[in-house]
């Protein structure tokens, strides 16, 4: 049975996700975040890395957890391709450095009970050595405009439902 290497990203104490080994290209400790006014909460920060502006996604926010920004003192720099196969970089906020783990097909499992928004950007899932269910993130989708538009629509829909009740 062949093994594949995956980075386990510590989003917070109760949520971990993963990307493949080759998708994570750099780790930034104590990043300097710049807030983008008006952008949705989950992607309202950018960082400058190698003279490039990178969007930084807070996956905890997608899962409905809104922790203090100061907790996210690590950014995982992810490389991904858009629909046109153009290469881009994006960041994912973490509370600590990621861990590399080798996984195989026997570890495949069903997705844990995630928010709809997080399910929508999860490719599949595996059980890590610590017994946690780890969704594998679709980076291209996570950093796409379509995904943001879905989130904006979902928030607007929830707000309408809240206003009606």
């Amino acid at each position: 049975m062949s093994n594949a290497a995956a980075w386990i990203l510590n989003i917070n104490e109760s949520l971990h996700v993963s990307v493949s080994q080759l998708e994570l290209v750099h780790i930034i400790n104590e990043p300097y975040y710049i807030k983008v006014p008006g952008a949705p909460d989950y992607c309202n920060k950018i960082i400058i890395w190698n003279d490039n502006i990178l969007p930084v996604v807070n996956i905890a926010n997608l899962a409905g957890n809104h922790g203090s920004a100061s907790r996210y003192n690590v950014v995982a720099v992810i490389i991904y391709r858009d629909h046109d196969e153009q290469v881009h970089y994006g960041g994912i906020s973490l509370i600590s450095s990621p861990e590399l783990e080798y996984v195989n097909n026997s570890q495949v499992c069903t997705l844990p009970d995630l928010s709809y928004l997080l399910q929508e950007t999860s490719l599949s899932c595996f059980t890590c050595k610590k017994g946690r269910k780890i969704p594998i993130i679709d980076s291209s989708r996570l950093f796409s405009r379509e995904y943001t538009q879905n989130i904006i629509r979902e928030h607007a829909r929830n707000q309408m439902i809240n206003n009606e009740t």
Binding site: I34, V36, I48
Partner: protein, 164 residues
Amino acid sequence: MMSQTAYQNNVSYNEGIAEYMSLLIGSINILAPRNEIISLESIQSVDTNNPAAESIGYIQYEGNRVAVYCLSEQMKLQNKSPKDNLLCAILEYEGSYISLACLEANAFSRQIVKRQPLPECIQGAAGPIESLFIYDSNNTRDAAFIVTAESLARFVAEFQHSIE
């Protein structure tokens, strides 16, 4: 390059000191291309009677009634200007005029390293912000937000369409 507060009526900026003007919106600085800013007017010149949808009123410029818009720090349109706003920057794009209220306007004199489009996941989700600049700030890198006359007009049109 020099940095100066530009608070004068009918100031024309044809002589290029800096490529961009920094407009202060609440506590947020946005940059607008200097060649698009054709005049800075006092907000006291705004006629608040019968304003265009989501605007705070009109201002006269060379015989044209120019709609004046006001942004919150969250880049949302407001139909009332905070008292702090002192100026209206009138921007021109392809013969059309649009105006934006702001606290102050200064020449942006930092060294620009790179202009970059908004990251895809933020496009269309950050109000009228069209692109970003990386600039040098005391030997460290920082970023600034660019709003053009076109991106502001497009944002206003989309917002008006969304509430129809």
